[in-house]
């Protein structure tokens, strides 16, 4: 009898945090792209996916069941915190997205400089030319 209660708790844990598990999968896909892809543009795509998954994690952290968006509505009193989502992760991630695009621009400047010097974007070919 007690083992079934344990199983039920585990099942609820896995299903209740589904957003986290899927975000972790997305993070692993981005990390795989950064580490195992040889083309530098593919690495940059992996970086973008990784960054988006981190933003997704924060936004999912700020959401809760039965709450509305953080815009004041007289029908839902602001004195009860459970009525509204937590807007702090949203503002932080707004900044993170914009900063991420600026970083991406720097990455492209480096990519173009690398291409002008070595005439290739493949990691192995660049390492061959360096040696």
């Amino acid at each position: 009898m007690t083992i079934w209660r344990e199983v039920k708790i585990m099942y609820d844990f896995l299903l209740g945090h589904y957003s986290y598990w899927l975000t972790i999968i997305l993070l692993c896909i981005g990390l795989y792209g950064i580490i195992f892809k040889k083309n530098l543009v593919k690495k940059t795509i992996g970086l973008t996916i990784l960054q988006a998954s981190v933003v997704l994690y924060w936004v999912s952290l700020g959401s809760k069941w039965g709450a509305t968006v953080p815009v004041l509505d007289p029908a839902y009193p602001a004195s009860d915190v459970a009525n509204y989502l937590n807007p702090l992760p949203h503002t932080l991630m707004l900044t993170a997205i914009v900063v991420g695009v600026a970083t991406l621009g720097v990455a492209f400047a480096l990519l173009i400089a690398t291409y002008n010097r070595y005439k290739t974007l493949d990691e192995d070919e660049i390492l061959e030319q360096i040696q």
């Binding site: 589904y18 957003s19 899927l22 999968i25 997305l26 896909i29 981005g30 795989y32 792209g33 892809k37 040889k38 083309n39 543009v41 593919k42 940059t44 795509i45 992996g46 973008t48 996916i49 988006a52 933003v55 997704l56 936004v59 999912s60 700020g62 959401s63 809760k64 069941w65 709450a67 509305t68 968006v69 953080p70 989502l85 992760p89 949203h90 503002t91 991630m93 707004l94 997205i97 914009v98 991420g100 695009v101 991406l104 621009g105 492209f108 990519l111 173009i112 291409y115 290739t120 974007l121 493949d122």
Partner: protein, 81 residues
């Protein structure tokens, strides 16, 4: 939060991410990344982060895609993986 909508959007996001990394043509990969960003913006809106969703749709999907294509035309589309 409507979890059915979120689950469908999650599937779209994961498939678009895998396609963006595994496809052989870099231009196709960039288009798939744009699809990824737009679906991500929908996911943010579904989770209640409306401002984050708007920013992701404008900056993440629009500007990032343009930057990628400009960088590809400045360099090369040739790739081995």
């Amino acid at each position: 939060m409507i979890w059915e909508v979120e689950l469908i959007l999650y599937m779209f996001v994961i498939v678009a991410a895998i396609v963006a990394l595994e496809v052989k043509d870099l231009l196709t990969a960039v288009v798939s990344l744009t699809i990824f960003s737009f679906t991500m913006a929908l996911l943010f809106v579904a989770m209640g982060g409306i401002d984050v969703g708007f920013t992701e749709a404008v900056v993440g999907a629009g500007v990032t895609g343009i930057l990628f294509i400009v960088a590809l035309y400045q360099t090369t589309i040739r790739t081995n993986d």
